[in-house]
């Protein structure tokens, strides 16, 4: 299943609801384009909801890191919401868990941007 991305606004935060796979050729480019689009429009608060992302490979992990660094370099803040067990385990394995702000519930994640 390829990646689908839906965007919504909650209290000044752009929430991207991702669903599917973030892998080489199946979502990495879509995620990159979505983040660049938000940054170019001046959005400073971005929350990636990964609750429906059932698979991510090394390319997808790299894309998450690139999204984080691109946002940070442009003065924006990017955080993660609702990791599935597989994605959680991979972030721990690669120590990327220490890089991202990660939340289990949306209200707390939205509040953290204030």
């Amino acid at each position: 299943m390829a990646l689908t991305i839906a965007s919504r606004e909650v209290d000044g935060v752009t929430v991207l609801d991702l669903s599917g796979r973030i892998t080489l050729g199946e979502g990495s480019v879509q995620l990159r384009d979505a983040i660049r689009d938000l940054i170019s429009k001046g959005q400073k608060r971005i929350l990636l909801n990964l609750g429906e992302v059932n698979y991510i490979d090394s390319s997808g992990l790299g894309e998450l890191v690139s999204a984080y660094t691109t946002s940070k370099n442009q003065g924006a803040s990017l955080k993660l919401l609702k990791l599935t067990k597989k994605v959680h385990d991979l972030l721990q394995l690669t120590k990327l868990y220490t890089v991202f702000d990660i939340y289990d519930d949306e209200a707390s994640a939205i509040a953290s941007f204030k």
Partner: protein, 146 residues
């Protein structure tokens, strides 16, 4: 595990992303037949996918003149995956550690790290030209046969 699931399957594929998908799907099917639980199946299919991407992308560089040679083997004791590319080769002992603090924010370089983390054994062999990776997952012994 049933004796039916033991066997050896080999094939040669083009250096395309379609081949990656085909190899990944085969790993999932054979891993299921080998009796791997959900977590182990995820680990094996992901490691196989990463190794295949390495061979197609970094090894053969999507070159239509170069193929990948793939072998799956279930020995009963181990689930073994071997993949060989026809590329320039590389030194697996001198790759940067992507989990080191200075490398954490790099966008690439996690494939081999993941393969090593997800499998029980990983072996590299230089083919001149090309690289052969062998990935091994030990299978749980059958009840009453420990």
């Amino acid at each position: 595990m049933s004796a039916v699931s033991k066997g050896r399957w080999s094939f040669r594929l083009n250096s395309t992303m379609e081949s990656v998908g085909e190899v990944e799907a085969t790993a999932e099917r054979l891993g299921t037949e080998a009796g791997l639980d959900e977590d182990e199946l995820f680990r094996v299919t992901m490691a196989v996918r990463e190794a295949t991407i390495n061979a197609v992308l970094h090894g053969n560089e999507y070159d239509p003149a170069r193929q990948i040679d793939v072998v799956f083997e279930n020995t009963g004791a181990d689930f073994v995956f071997t993949i060989a590319d026809q590329g320039r080769g590389f030194d697996p002992d001198h790759l940067p550690d992507p989990s080191a603090p200075e490398n954490l924010l790099r966008g690439t370089g996690r494939g081999i790290f993941l393969i090593r983390s997800l499998m029980d054994e990983v072996h590299f062999r230089q083919l001149h030209p090309g690289t052969e990776l062998t990935l091994i997952k030990h299978l749980a012994p059958e009840p009453g046969n420990r």
